[in-house]
Assembly symmetry: C2
Homo-oligomer: 309 residues x 2
Amino acid sequence: MSLTVVGSIAFDAVKTPFGERERMLGGAATHFSLAASFFTEVRPVGPVGEDFGAAEFAVLEARGIRTDDIERVPGGKSFFWRGHYEYDLNVAHTDDTQLGVFAEFEPKLSEASRSADTLFLANIQPDLQRQVRAQCGSAGLSGLDSMNLWIETARDSLVAAVAEVDCLVVNDAEIRMLTGESNLARAARAVMAMGPRAVIAKQGEYGAALFTGEGFFALPGFPLEDVRDPTGAGDSFAGGFFGYLDGLGREPGEAELRQAMGYGTVLASFNVEEFGTERVARLSREEIDERFEQLRAMTQFEGLASAAE
Amino acid sequence: MSLTVVGSIAFDAVKTPFGERERMLGGAATHFSLAASFFTEVRPVGPVGEDFGAAEFAVLEARGIRTDDIERVPGGKSFFWRGHYEYDLNVAHTDDTQLGVFAEFEPKLSEASRSADTLFLANIQPDLQRQVRAQCGSAGLSGLDSMNLWIETARDSLVAAVAEVDCLVVNDAEIRMLTGESNLARAARAVMAMGPRAVIAKQGEYGAALFTGEGFFALPGFPLEDVRDPTGAGDSFAGGFFGYLDGLGREPGEAELRQAMGYGTVLASFNVEEFGTERVARLSREEIDERFEQLRAMTQFEGLASAAE
């Protein structure tokens, strides 16, 4: 099985109440790929600049990520994001965004990336998402993330892109904004009427909720006493979710989607424990499975005793 | 088993995007009592004015609620709250508060109310909460709600009141405010260091989270496509939670606390479907149990099939 993801591969400068980093590996496709790498073969697609060097590639390759479709643009500069968080870690404040090589990005997928079983379109301009979707027509499962900027400035393109995927994964405020419907259950239904058969509402520290035609499932964020940097939490969630599903190698049913919500939650929780990719880069599958079982125990009506049986 | 609750018994004027009521039965003790009445004998304690008549008493008595300790003050006016909600139903905007007979309230519990097995101190001035707690010393289980006003204006009294109960039930922002700790898991631990052995963080539409010395449990809000008036949701949650626990008639363990979280969530969900007490007043135990099972199915990792077994 294999999973292609298109999105930013970048450098981030981040300051939170718990520390700061002036320049670290980041980007949606990076966080997604690292999270998904515990479950399947991942191929990130996207451009980087000459400033993206062996050290950055090494972080990805150490996790077995196939970097062939990361296009290094001669003379170019990588996408750069600078942001900070106050004590409310749910709100990211953007201080600077430099598109760099992303401004001229024209997706050209290799044969291996085109033939992926699963495709994730991380948050980029929706026309680019559609170009990638068209090149990767064989994917049996596809997902898409987006943001308020594209809802405001490229709504028609975004709606067309949403119509072409199986699962929309965005913040709950964006589901409301996209559909103009304040009630989340109604908003999710409106998204499904556009095409997707599943909608995931990311809710920051409150966790995430899954809407499908068959039902509703929600998980809290994994409770952590030390959260240092929430950057990339949503991308790590999506990476855990789609990585797990791709690794299954079969059409997911409701139960598999719920398990995938659990793995997404677990990967997001490790991601926020340290800055950037620091924690997930040295994570083990054993740690993931241990936390997954803790999360399951935390959501059992029957309490700890029976959960431990 | 029996449950005493002290708090406001009031009239509310409420406007939401989905309708309005100029004067309806409300108040924290009212919503709490109606929710708890499905599980045990409930005794609300609090003052009302001469404007509180047979029609209002009838709503409570139809649910078997013991109204002996509702003190009708000659010449007095009942507590009155006027508020409205925009499309974000998580935020209540207060337009007017008239304390009426509550301004002179001195709690005097009857023998029956004093000897309750369970006591809930709804959101009132913390010194009043402490007076009631002192009169109801035999309660084996006690809970307390509060609000930002008391954290700001009567913090020492509130901390003393919190120390005297088993379970704090407040909004998550209030847990942070009370403890000065932005991380919710740490804030909950700080509350437990004050005395309570359980802390419930109410999170509006995101549901509620339970922290105990043994673990963590969280439930999403029950997903509803029609929410008309969120007033009293938190009190209905607390009523379902403590009503269920009191009705058990035994010391609750972790599993019982989790079940109680489920009943709290279910009662809150019915409460918000219509204005004021309208929906809960005509609710049945069968409807409650049906929704409880739906909620359980929504939180099972194993999916719908196994949940239905």
